[in-house]
Symmetry: C2
Subunit: 150 residues, 2 copies
């Protein structure tokens, strides 16, 4: 199976929304509303928020994506690559596509002189935890994650 990892293009919009909806269904979450879809695509293509999207393509079809952006560690005084989302369509799992995508993210982090790559995982997602651990990711269990929702 030939998989190409590349930056998103505007003409991928419908395919991206299809995959995002697929992920929402898989996670039994409400898929994004039309308004949220529009806000998300605007945010990606306006480059206003620094969001970057990699896509995995097979046979001209999108089979996965990763949303990431750069944050900054004041402690290291270096940028961090923050991986917001990574998703591979279910029937393309175990094909090496996730690994290929993740290796590309590590390359991007290194090219941008990042000191770290960070992400959050839901505690029940054991397959994901194992996947990240294979790449050397460590769980920083002494940090608590806090959120105010408006």
């Amino acid at each position: 199976m030939k998989v190409n990892i590349r930056n998103i293009r505007k003409q991928d919009s419908d395919e991206l929304i299809r995959l995002i909806t697929e992920l929402a269904e898989f996670e039994k979450l409400k898929p994004p509303s039309k308004q949220a879809q529009k806000r998300l695509l605007d945010a990606v293509f306006s480059r206003k928020f620094g969001i970057k999207v990699l896509v995995a393509e097979n046979d001209r079809k999108l089979i996965g994506y990763a949303f990431y952006f750069f944050t900054f560690s004041t402690f290291l005084a270096k940028p961090t690559l923050y991986l917001e989302d990574i998703y591979i369509s279910e029937k393309y799992r175990r094909s090496g596509t996730g690994k290929k995508m993740f290796r590309e993210l590590i390359k991007i982090a290194n090219n941008n002189k990042c000191g770290r790559l960070e992400l959050m995982v839901l505690d029940w997602n054991v397959n994901a935890l194992r996947f990240y651990e294979k790449f050397g990711a460590k769980n920083l269990y002494n940090w608590k994650f806090y959120r105010i929702s408006f």
Copy 2:
């Protein structure tokens, strides 16, 4: 005590480094090297990484700072204000300066149509946990925080 919360200016550089060094000593961490200080100030004033800094000023002296930047929630399709660091110099604690700073951050989040304000806290920092909880922050204990260090 009159405290003014405002954006950082280039002429605050020395004062900011003084406070950062003070925090490192307080936390028994190594203070930033000359190189890291330079990288940090470059990052703040070049605006390359989207880092923003609020400072608290009393009697022309800096007594606190907050580093923040905007990330993005693909789930909400809205920006998030991420608070990287907030520090009030020890002898100015319990003066209301932290609250004033935090209220300003909430205002900034709202002005930027953020869906969330997020931060990480070390689990032993009980005073900090209580402080954030008073503002309605919730601990998302089912998310695990992972990091790859390069």
